[in-house]
Symmetry: C2
Subunit: 428 residues, 2 copies
């Protein structure tokens, strides 16, 4: 078959700051998926897009082309509305775990296709897989049935959804082209739109432990994604939330499940509860159920019931004892005073090095590994008291984890502590 | 072996407008040659270099790394000094053919490693290969011996010279990254420096038929290359010369050899003679023989003797009848007046489509194909007189060649004709 464009002409247009036409975008995404546009051509195009940008029309078309590369799900026949959440990734970010069953308990179905962790940020599927028996892979039929019966599904995205994105993401990862806002936004949104959710709340993380280190870039990404979702008919809102400090008191897999269950039981760290409720309210409002107060569903135990039903539906045992790391090492406070800073990136790196995360997507993770911290910024600590507990099955990992934590926290004496707000902005 | 850098960190540094260190450049060029840095990584780096540039140190180091990827020739033991010329490519640019033997006749050796044509620009080896028996491939020993005995060699570059450049050039060709001045300059200069010439004159073409369409970019390229040559101890000068109009009266292979022989016989088109002499004077001055007047050597037949010796040394017969195209088609002047413009790109495209050039490097070329024009800008023409003769072995090629010539020339009546100078600038 003769091709309507050449890869070089498309690359050169973007390289020379031109706009790609709709047919050019459709062709290049499709031809890349078919292997007609080679990896080395797509990577130079990705670099040109990263450096020269794309306008809103181009990003929307690129997203549409990635959606068109695969199947598209449709939950229109479900008996309840659907609403989903996507986080751009952080440290200690277990929010999906209490959030999905909580929203389900409020009468809105949550069809979450999720991913595994890479680098210092954790992955929702890795956390859930620490529950004995739980399985991430569901057929479309199983997913649909569980949404109808339980109201919440967190499972792995199948290969059928936006295959162009899958191929492009792997390429960007090795060619220094991950950090392109048009490509990040279209990658996330192509999957979420293809997934077929009616409403979507984006949790765009900002700070040292996040992908976006500054608020301006995070806002640009959030606005781009909200625009894409809205144009595609998905009710989309974004919250910009802090990721200078890790969320809650744990970063790992099983230990984050444990913390999530505390939240579902009506307890848990205040920041995790606050963010879970804020995102739940947005998800409910997006699905037209803004009248329901999710706090009630935490208090009355119905969110916990949904959680157990959700875990069981995927062959997990919600009452099983979770895996525990074989070895632990306690870091004590080197001085007395106020813990004025706990760096999300340092904690995330430490948890990764302890075995909770992976460097390559085929690596395994340890269910019990991670970091527990015993104080949060603003708390008073006394010299010698336990500050953090490092957990791993392999004690030779402690040294490099401790290195990652060097300079990762400050204890100040007598200084005024200014708490940073968790919720920074709302876009939508 | 563990690698000292990662490709992604090098790409990201250039992407974010940083400077690459000397060890990073050495590593990335070497690792690419070894296949440790993948094509899709080098192409995104090439795009970042194209868009963000490199400073003089980076370009010099990049060039040195490409030289270090292969062998380096040394003509220090020759009995005469060496001087070479490189043209960035044009239409009707047969200058090497009369120039190399002319300079040899003046006592300076010319060790020219040359290439084949691609697209609308011709290649010196393609032209010489139209001479019955002539062969482009010489061993290093043959080249050295011919330089000593004849004083001029034009032959194909072996695989041993700058293999990194060979691999990188093929990649840039398909990834929209050809037009990066640091990469063009280092590609040309790595081969010329590795070739071991003592002096070098660069003929940087400017205009519609050239790679560089405007004088500013051509000057930047020329200055970059002169800097690289000078830093490497090669006496380097650049001339910026016009390529809005094709050179001489022919564009093809055998017909350009014929025109070159006319120049060597003391005749030939004035512009070809002018440029040949200007470049010869620079080559001689660079080699410390500025006292010799090359015009004398054209007049006294010694340049012609060198030509014949050079052709014979490579098994060609300088007295053989050259191949002639099987078919010809005459384009007549559509009006009377002054030929005010003859576009180099249009003529180059026509010659290419007639079979004189190739689209892919493995394609053959026709020895007899090409375009002869019978008037040059400034000449008076009469309606119906022959303006151009198109030559090919395959008459079905005429239509597309005629299409290429549409709008490629202007005939004006009564207008003042302003000739454009052939020599635009000198840098060095």
């Amino acid at each position: 078959m003769s091709e309507p464009f050449s890869a070089v002409e498309v690359i050169v247009r973007k390289r020379d700051r031109g706009e790609l036409s709709d047919p050019e975008i459709d062709w290049v995404v499709d031809a890349y998926t078919r292997g007609v546009v080679a990896d080395e051509q797509m990577s130079s195009l990705a670099m040109a897009i990263l450096l020269n940008g794309m306008n809103r029309r181009e990003i929307a078309r690129w997203t549409a082309a990635m959606i068109a590369s695969g199947e598209r799900m449709d939950f229109g026949t479900l008996s309840r509305p659907t609403s989903d959440k996507h986080s751009t990734g952080g440290v200690g970010d277990k929010i999906t775990l209490p959030l999905a069953p909580l929203v389900a308990a409020c009468g809105v179905a949550v069809p979450q296709l999720s991913g595994r962790g890479l680098g210092h940020t954790g992955g929702t599927l890795d956390k859930l897989e620490s529950i004995p028996g739980w399985r991430a892979a569901l057929s479309n039929e199983e997913m649909f049935a569980q949404l109808e019966s339980v109201g919440a599904v967190v499972c792995a995205a199948g290969d059928g959804l936006a295959p162009a994105d899958k191929k492009l993401y792997a390429l960007r990862d090795v060619t220094g082209t991950v950090e392109a806002i048009p490509l990040i936004a279209s990658s996330i949104m192509s999957k979420k739109i293809a997934e077929g959710t009616g409403a979507l709340v984006l949790d765009v993380k900002v700070g040292s432990g996040a992908f976006m280190k500054n608020v301006e870039l995070a806002r640009e990404l959030a606005e781009t994604m909200v625009g894409l979702g809205t144009d595609a008919g998905v009710h989309t809102v974004a919250l910009l939330t802090d990721m200078d400090t890790p969320l809650g008191l744990t970063a790992g897999n099983a230990i984050e499940v444990e913390e999530s269950v505390e939240v579902l039981a009506g307890g848990g760290p205040a920041d995790v509860v606050e963010l879970t409720l804020a995102l739940a309210r947005e998800m409910l409002a997006g699905a037209g159920r803004g009248d329901v107060d999710p706090a009630d569903k935490l208090a009355d135990g119905s969110a916990m019931d949904s959680w157990k039903a959700m875990v069981r539906a995927q062959d997990g045992d919600p009452d099983a004892v979770l895996p525990v790391a074989k070895e632990s090492h306690v870091v004590t406070a080197p001085a007395s005073g106020t813990l004025s800073r706990l760096d999300a990136m340092a904690v995330g790196m430490a948890a990764w090095r302890l075995g909770a995360g992976r460097s390559r997507k085929e690596d395994p993770v340890q269910a019990g590994a991670g970091v527990r911290w015993h104080a949060r910024p603003g708390d008073q600590v006394t010299e010698g008291q336990p500050l953090m507990t490092l957990l791993t099955d392999e004690p030779d990992r402690f040294d490099r984890a401790l290195e990652a934590l060097e300079g990762g926290y400050d204890i100040e004496h007598g200084a005024e502590f200014e708490p940073t707000p968790l919720l920074i902005d709302r876009i939508g």
